[in-house]
Symmetry: C2
């Protein structure tokens, strides 16, 4: 009797706080997914060991698997060519960490490493909101803002394979300074961090529900708290959402004028509250419907939520295996 | 005796004020070039007749030509698919003008129509500063600001074939309102018109050489006059150049963060004074050399000057004939 093996690919989503691993078949069905904290500050060696353990755990859950390859999406900057992660900002101590080599050595399969924003966008292209969209622009609004452009199902790359970083394009020079060198870049005005920072500052001046929710300590306010207060119609929270929706829209107007994509998909933690932002965003965008067909660009929330990363990571290795 | 015929392609550059026609051989050598005013307000029929006349005149100067096709770059918006020009803004009365059909009918060859910014960029790619550059971004700073992205020698197009319009991406919401629907778009802050407008306003307040040059009437100041005064070290003119170089750089920073191109080529009338701007532009750009390899992006002035349009227009039809 021949026992059929299931060809399996693994997608890894390596973030600043947690690690998620999914096993997929070649049609993109997720067979199993698990996560654990990454505890990056324990160093890259511990992180790699942790990753290998979790991959093995996920694989054990799949009967008779035949592992074909592993795709990794990691919080950037990453170097896809050499397979190294260089991100001491969100992964403390992770400086020039060769990530693909130990995985290839351990599992004996090809391993691909990409930027997490690119990978989330690819996930939405393969199995999410942007399936089959020729020019798909993804904006990931989380702690920061990441961007990715998927063209004909491929990650758009710049010079030397560089990943674009639209989150740091300038939209208002009167805005706050950012570690990127700019003042008033998109991330500094519309990210989760930007929302939190602005809310902390304003809550001090206008003590409303938001201050109450933070137990009187404005420093404890985060962007999720702002969304929650906005749902309870707190005027300050609504004002803050309105402000960041305006800046979110401004950056999208710029993306649309430069790329004219068929679709913008909004990913990331802050966009789990997509419904709070979208009316204001759409209203602002449509003011610019003159030079390019702005009104024809579809704006949608991500469909895969927390699984966009593992799905897209699996898709990168799928593309490689299939020679796409 | 067999008389060899020379395969010839025609490039047409149709601007708001003048019409230029060049004849090229298939290696891109310009055999003849001529121009005349377009006098658009006399209507599209007169304009088309004028164009046909000039093409014939240019062709007569080439011995034993064998016309293979015609490429047209026109001041946008144009519809490349239907071959129509729809630009009542810079070509008064030219609303939905079918431009390629009458030319095809008259000359019996294929005719291609593209946006003038795209075509100038293609010219620089074929025969100018950007030869062989994989990802070439062109910024045309003239009366307005036009942008084009040439990827692997092809014009990048957005949804439905739409031409991107980076000149109207927002860089400072505190800037002046623009007909595009934005306040503070790139064009409103760094174009020739923006320079002239700001200079007129400032010359009233700070009467220096600039006011003198305009014969005491600030309304007569244009961007060329500002450049001239700057060369004579007029402090106000230098300040104006500095301001627009800053905004020019800001838009370029954004382009770099989103596209990470190998090269930005600066075209258009205002960039004939490239040397007045470039130091300030480079200094500003390099402040942002953190998230993407900004310092590796080459910034160069266009090489073909007034002939970028006809050269690129010829290249569009060359690409079509050669099936590229």
């Amino acid at each position: 009797m021949i026992v059929r093996q299931v060809p399996v690919i693994i997608g890894i989503d390596l973030g600043g706080t947690s690690l998620r691993v999914g096993a997929f078949d070649l049609r993109g069905e997720m067979l199993n997914v698990q996560d654990c904290p990454i505890e990056a500050s324990q160093g890259p060696d511990a992180g790699i060991a942790r990753t290998i353990d979790l991959v093995e755990k996920v694989l054990r859950s799949v009967e008779r698997y035949d592992l074909k390859g592993i795709g990794v999406g990691a919080t950037g900057p990453v170097d896809s060519v050499s397979g190294t992660i260089n991100n001491p900002y969100t992964l403390p101590t992770w400086q020039n960490v060769s990530f693909t080599t130990p995985l290839t050595k351990h599992f004996g399969v090809p391993v691909v490493l990409e930027n997490d924003a690119d990978v989330a966008a690819l996930g939405e292209y393969w199995k999410g909101a942007g399936q089959g969209v020729t020019r798909l622009f993804a904006v990931t609004v989380g702690t920061g803002i990441g961007t990715a452009f998927i063209m004909d199902g491929k990650i758009y790359r710049g010079l030397g394979g560089a990943h674009g970083d639209g989150g740091h394009h300038v939209i208002d020079p009167a805005g706050p300074p950012c570690y990127c060198g700019a003042t008033g870049c998109w991330e500094s005005l519309a990210s989760g961090n930007a929302i939190a920072k602005y809310a902390r500052q304003e809550a001090r001046l206008k003590p409303t529900l938001l201050l109450e929710m933070s137990g009187g300590d404005p420093q404890r306010i985060d962007s999720r708290m702002v969304a929650e207060a906005a749902r309870k119609a707190d005027p300050l929270a609504l004002e803050i959402i309105d402000r960041s929706a305006y800046y979110l829209a401004l950056g999208m107007v710029n993306v649309i004028h430069l790329f004219v994509p068929e679709m913008i998909v909004l990913c990331g933690g802050v966009m789990h509250n997509y419904d709070l932002f979208i009316d204001r965003v759409q209203k602002e965008i449509l003011k610019h419907n003159i030079m390019v067909p702005v009104g024809q660009v579809r704006v949608l929330p991500a469909k895969l939520g927390y699984y966009a990363g593992v799905t897209g990571a699996a898709y990168t290795i799928y593309q490689m295996i299939m020679g796409k």
